[in-house]
């Protein structure tokens, strides 16, 4: 698991998340000025109400676990390791996000537990750079 990835790391896609140097990444979503709902990834048109006034929004880095499973077979186009966790995290903005999970064991996760956004390495590209994407990891309950 990579907290604060090095300068040789590249995101799996530009514009999905911020690459903060302090190791606290944030997902880049959109906020519709008309219906006030958030979406992810950022689009130019609101995917819920079709309005064109969308502003960029940094989404909360902590959410709660809504659903989870484990990927045990290498899926199409994927060059990383298996198994890995896969699930849905609910953010306070009223958004459910499909995501990798750092915890692959389903019996070590439970519904509603706090999850924190991290960056995780996928594989090393042809230039020797680590390709990273976002994932959620179990967070210590702040209480």
């Amino acid at each position: 698991m990579s907290d604060g990835h090095s300068s040789s790391a590249v995101p799996v896609r530009e514009g999905l998340f911020t690459s903060a140097e302090d190791g606290s990444p944030r997902l880049i979503g959109g906020l519709c000025v008309a219906c006030r709902h958030h979406h992810f990834p950022l689009l130019t048109t609101c995917p819920y109400c079709s309005a064109e006034g969308v502003t960029e929004a940094r989404l909360s880095a902590v959410g709660s676990l809504w659903g989870w499973t484990t990927v045990t077979t290498v899926p199409p186009g994927y060059r990383g390791e298996v198994p890995f966790g896969f699930g849905v995290v609910e953010l306070p903005e009223g958004l459910r996000v499909i995501t990798r999970l750092t915890e692959p064991a389903p019996d070590r996760l439970e519904r509603g537990q706090p999850m924190r956004l991290v960056l995780t390495p996928l594989h090393v590209d042809q230039e020797g750079r680590s390709v990273v994407t976002y994932a959620f990891a179990p967070a210590v309950d702040p209480r």
Partner: protein, 379 residues
């Protein structure tokens, strides 16, 4: 509806794995069989709609080209797993509108093995390991287990039921019975789904000839409704990256069912037999609820009471379903229709549901798209 649309003939290329047989070969076999049964030849139908996902450019033309039957409009239709149903909707609608008298509808596919690769997922989603169709199925199964009292044993029972039905279907890929213990002992693909709870991508073709009917006889198409997911709906076959925290979204299946029931003037209580999408065992259980065969939250009870068995109140997937037949995406919906036409004619042999008069076919898949077709037999 004013104009009745009747099924003039049906044809099938078996579902399974056929080394050395092209998708065009399979399409030709199914189309030829349907045209022969309908006694319809070249020049006797005015348009063709071909449901397919992976067959490439002008795939339907290649089939009719191989039969010397081009010159008419030939349209390939892609709507994920509901492609064949979408083709049928367009064909039936064209007849009802008066545009054509007789239309050929067919579907075909030759799927690669393993987890389906889909251009629906952007390259970065593949690279990030998020293009995992069975993982989305697993999240849906987990939700169903949470909300409807479904257990892994119920999931296994769906497989046992459908595989038992498949024994009697010569056009199925798998024709052997399995036990619940066998299903539960198969490899975990994505918890809670075991390998045998997932249908196998497959090959096959199916064809239906539709024509305008002066009266109501034989088998009529009472409704064919296609719907897509509503904006913001995060789970199910739509699989966007994110959606709203809102559990009140009607699913594409529920939307299509509602439209089809209204169009046909029937309700779930009027059905005698159902073929539904069982890409995984949980998908079938969810369909019981979304199609209104039982109340929301009641799928486990509906199954446990034996309702969807051959001996039950409403047999579901007498053909063995996709769990027995495998899934050739473009062909699966019309494969269901072919099965139900045999059922409504009373010609389904050892799979016959006695006295079946009203039948429903359901497919749902990527997009999301869902299609519900309602057929009626006139004795």
């Amino acid at each position: 509806m004013s104009t009745a649309v009747e099924v003039a003939g049906v044809g099938l290329h078996p579902f399974g794995r056929f080394e050395g047989t092209t998708v065009t070969d399979m399409g030709v076999a199914a189309v030829r069989a349907a045209l022969r049964e309908a006694n319809v030849g070249r020049g006797d139908f005015q348009a063709a709609f071909c449901g397919t996902v992976y067959s490439g450019v002008a795939a339907g033309h290649k089939v009719l080209g191989a039969l010397g039957m081009t010159g008419i409009p030939i349209v390939d239709v892609e709507a994920g797993c509901a492609s064949g149903g979408a083709a049928l909707m367009l064909g039936a609608g064209a007849i009802r509108s008066g545009q054509y008298d007789t239309v050929l509808v067919f579907g075909m596919e030759k799927m690669p093995k393993g987890i389906i690769r889909s251009s629906f997922f952007e390259p970065w989603r593949e690279e990030a390991g998020l293009a995992v169709t069975p993982a989305y199925f697993a999240l849906r199964a987990q939700r169903l287990m949470r909300e409807s009292g479904v257990t892994v044993d119920h999931l296994a029972q769906v497989v046992v039921k459908n595989r038992r039905n498949g024994v009697n279907n010569p056009a199925a890929l798998f024709r052997s019975e399995v036990t619940a213990a066998d299903v539960l002992a198969s490899r975990v693909v994505c918890e809670p789904l075991r390998l045998w709870m997932l249908c196998s991508p497959g090959e096959g073709a199916a064809a239906v000839v539709l024509r305008r009917a002066s009266g109501r006889s034989g088998v009529t198409v009472e409704a064919a409704a296609l719907r897509s997911h509503l904006p913001g709906n995060v789970l199910g076959e739509a699989t966007p990256m994110a959606g709203l925290v809102d559990d009140t979204f009607p699913s594409p299946t529920a939307l299509a069912a509602q439209a089809a029931y209204a169009e046909a003037g029937v309700g779930p209580d009027d059905l005698d037999v159902v073929e539904c999408q069982d890409t995984d065992a949980a998908r079938e259980l969810l369909s019981y609820e979304e199609l209104g065969l039982c109340a929301k939250g009641d799928a486990a009870h509906f199954l446990g009471a034996g309702n969807p068995k051959m001996s039950g109140r409403l047999p579901v997937n007498p053909s063995g379903g996709l769990l027995s037949k495998g899934e050739p995406l473009g062909a699966s919906a019309l494969g269901q229709v072919v099965e139900l036409v045999h059922q409504l004619r009373g010609g389904a042999g050892p799979r016959q549901v006695d006295g079946a008069r009203v039948a429903l076919a359901h497919t749902v898949g990527r997009g999301a798209n869902a299609c519900v077709v309602i057929l009626r037999g006139h004795p």
